[in-house]
Amino acid sequence: MSDVSIAGVGAYAPRLRIDAAEFQDAWGQFHAPGVEEKAVPEADEDAVTMAVEAAQRALAAADREGTDVAHLALATTTPPMAEEDLTARLSSMLGTPADVATRMLTGSTRAGAQALAAALDAGPWADGVALVIASDCPRGEPDSEREHAAGAGAAAFVLDGDSPGTVVHRASHVEAYPGTRFRSTGDAETTGLGVTQYDRESYTATLEKATDALDADLSVDAAAVQSPDGKLPYRATDALGVSAGAIADAETVSSLGDTGAASTFLGAAKAFADGADRLLLAAYGSGAGATVFVLDGPVPAGTALAGDTELTYAEYLRRRGEITSDEPEGGGAYVSVPSWQRTIPQRHRLVAGQCPNCGALNFPPDGACYDCTDRPDEYERAELPGTGSVEAVTSIEQGGAPPEFVEQQSKSGPFVSAVVAFDGPDGEETVSAPTQVVTGGVEEITVGTDVETTIRRIYTQEGVVRYGFKARVADARR
């Protein structure tokens, strides 16, 4: 039905987890049925950083690179900035061409499916691909069912014109059901009126009518169904015409929680990774609307959905900033936004420079060469692969953080700061750069530890989130 095919899917969830029992202990009750544990973003993660993680895995699964991306879409209900085109930064982080067509969809948990539908209409893209990313980390009031369910994760599809994966059917339905799940302008937390029967009817009625509109036989292996909790999808088996088993085969809500706009993409990534051949993707957004697709595999998948670091409820509240202070007032060590902007290629993609005089790698490539002290007009561009080895390292503990990083420390505890010798493009010469090393589980960072880079929030100054590379233990890539 479309000339566009599915070349790959990638998925990522933060490694931090909290068990439902922690909520039970803290509140005496837990309001998210079917959620056993859920993923929690680290203090330096958000919808953008998770999007990069998922996108890189999707591109790798499709055997493509950032330079191939002709169409880039980000869907999220939790953009880190309410206004500002985040796709420009995403494009920089992923290294797409500058003439990439970009789309950002928000305001609904159906945004991921809407972005997929829009991409199907836009393609194909000659030799290029579309990258459709859904990434989300919803929030609610601490004692609400939304917050108890609120998880985190991201998943991305790579679309092209000649892969085995296809979209065989799709349909949508909208019908006005105000007040089931909403967030007022300026609020950070999603809420709802909690009119149980009305909420369920909005969900099942729109999904049923969208599925009816497919007018197709749904003999699917698995069904990735919008999962605000772990119970509601199973109330829609009749509406969708699928079995409970098919839903269970493509669910992530029990281990990741409510992943909002990323919910159905994550389910699809899981199912395709498990070898599903025919999949129903059924997205729902309050308001209300449903978008459903029938996808045929096989679709190559790269996923990192396992958790390895358990949080207590107090640690969870710290990560969420519920019980921590904001950055203290101060001064000094100011890095202006324009001076930051000039270094974005270095911060997003580790673009180093080779001295035209002596050949030494310089990072950042600016000013006199570190090796020969020659002052070249321009360094030869040398993008580093992002792997390297720790040369010097410390864990910043009590009183050791500058005020700009006190909030991070307050949320996440001591953090590791290091100098890393990064591998050059030729794999021989290295060039050193300072970076934090993100840790979890039982990792210990010492001189000699092998690391690789990822994208994280560095800090927020003057209301502007500054993203840049950080390192993590090389074999921690899950």
Binding site: V335, F363, V393, E397, Q398, G399, G400, A401, P402, S417
Partner: protein, 390 residues
């Protein structure tokens, strides 16, 4: 060029003095320096002044040199501020020596001042890291504790020294500082206390880090043509060396030492025509304990990787072969950034004049001061000589 001499030097107590302004502290240091000149000096005999400060807290960032000297009663003379992080006043004295040696001044004052304790600790920390490489190094969440901790991680990985040797520095310097009435933290500490202190930036704990202090110091430098008017016991500036190094640690060739210290030391020894063996005592920039170990090696008191042996042998203790930081060092005496370098020279002047009281080093001829900015972006070394000594 003519020879230069230290004819007087003094300092305020170092410590927390939120009731004092930076100008009044500086005035007190100038008065102490003037008082220490054996045969006296009139204010109008001072031809020029250079005032070191980082400017922690902001306050009078512009024209703080003239603002300080005006308060000290030194009206009208050329007066300027020099900023070189924690090496500001070591460089201020070096500049006073240059003024005298060049013939542009017969008597020049080099000093420094810093106020660090009249702000919240958060605001202070904004300023502490400002001499680190701001756009990359600091944005990994480090102040200097973090950067020196990274250097320590490399050193401890590369050589035999252990964390306990870092604690031994604290014990030694506190033992000396307890004998110094001007010390900020003038108390003794046990090795047990120093080992068990809370971690600030692994492997550095609280006792491996110097305090933030208020204080001022001033040094009077005179030419060989006029020195006899002020003293019969001249302390000669035998050698001066200074050097710079890349500001960000990651841009250096080596993290287990400070190249600028090494260069500054070599130059100062050469200038003085002596070898490291001739040095009888040293005031070392121990902002963090690892920095004192680095300095033993950078200044060639021992071979690379052997600094911990000097501690084990006790040769840098007050009654050792070459006492280091008889004043208590930055760890115990305190570290008012802009005043530290001049304060070290004030201590060396006192030692060479035989006026250091309970912490007097036995019959010194050559004393060395070593002042470092940031994690080594700037370093300056002075070798002072008591001309009459054997």
């Amino acid at each position: 060029m003519r020879d230069a001499y230290i004819i007087g030097a003094g300092q305020t107590p170092f410590g927390a003095m939120p009731d004092r302004s930076y100008r009044s502290l500086f005035s007190s240091a100038v008065a102490a320096a003037v008082d220490s000149v054996p045969d006296g000096i009139a204010d109008d005999e001072i031809d020029e002044a250079i005032v070191g400060s980082l400017g922690v807290g902001g306050r009078q960032l512009g024209l703080s040199g003239p603002a300080a000297t005006e308060h000290a009663g030194l009206h009208g003379i050329p007066s300027s501020r020099i900023e070189n992080a924690c090496a500001a006043s070591g460089y201020a004295v070096r500049q006073a020596v240059q003024a005298v040696k060049s013939g542009m001044a017969d008597v020049a004052l080099g000093g420094g001042v810093e106020i660090m304790t009249d702000m919240s600790s958060d605001v202070t920390k904004y300023w502490l890291g400002v001499s680190g490489e701001t756009e990359w190094e600091r944005l990994t969440g480090t102040t200097f504790a973090g950067v020196y901790a990274q250097m320590a991680s490399t050193y401890l990985d590369q050589y035999e020294a252990t964390q306990e040797h870092l604690s031994m520095i604290a014990v030694k310097n506190h033992e000396n500082g307890a004998k110094n009435p001007n010390a900020h933290l003038g108390f003794e500490c046990s090795l047990e206390d120093a080992v068990g202190a809370p971690v600030v930036a692994d492997p550095l704990n609280l006792y491996h880090c110097c305090p933030t202090s208020d204080g001022a110091a001033a040094v009077l430098v005179a030419s060989e043509d006029v020195v006899d008017e002020y003293t019969d016991d001249p302390i000669r500036v035998a050698g001066v060396g200074a050097a710079s190094e890349r500001v960000g640690l990651f841009q250096r060739d080596d993290y287990a030492g400070i190249a600028s210290s090494e260069k500054a030391g070599e130059k100062a020894y050469q200038d003085a025509g002596i070898t490291p063996d001739d040095i009888d005592f040293a005031e070392i920039h121990d902002c963090f304990a690892i920095a004192e170990l680095f300095a033993y090696e950078d200044l060639s008191f021992c071979e690379r990787g052997q600094a911990h042996r000097l501690l084990e042998e006790g040769s840098t203790e007050l009654d050792g072969e070459r006492p280091v930081n008889a004043s208590g060092g930055l760890k115990s005496k305190g570290h008012p950034i802009g005043a530290t370098g001049a304060g070290q020279i004030a201590e060396a002047f006192k030692q060479l004049s035989g006026k250091a009281g309970d912490r007097q080093v036995a019959d010194p001829k050559y004393g060395l001061t070593h002042n470092v900015g940031g994690s080594g972006g700037a370093a300056v070394v002075h070798v002072l000589e008591r001309e009459g000594a054997e």
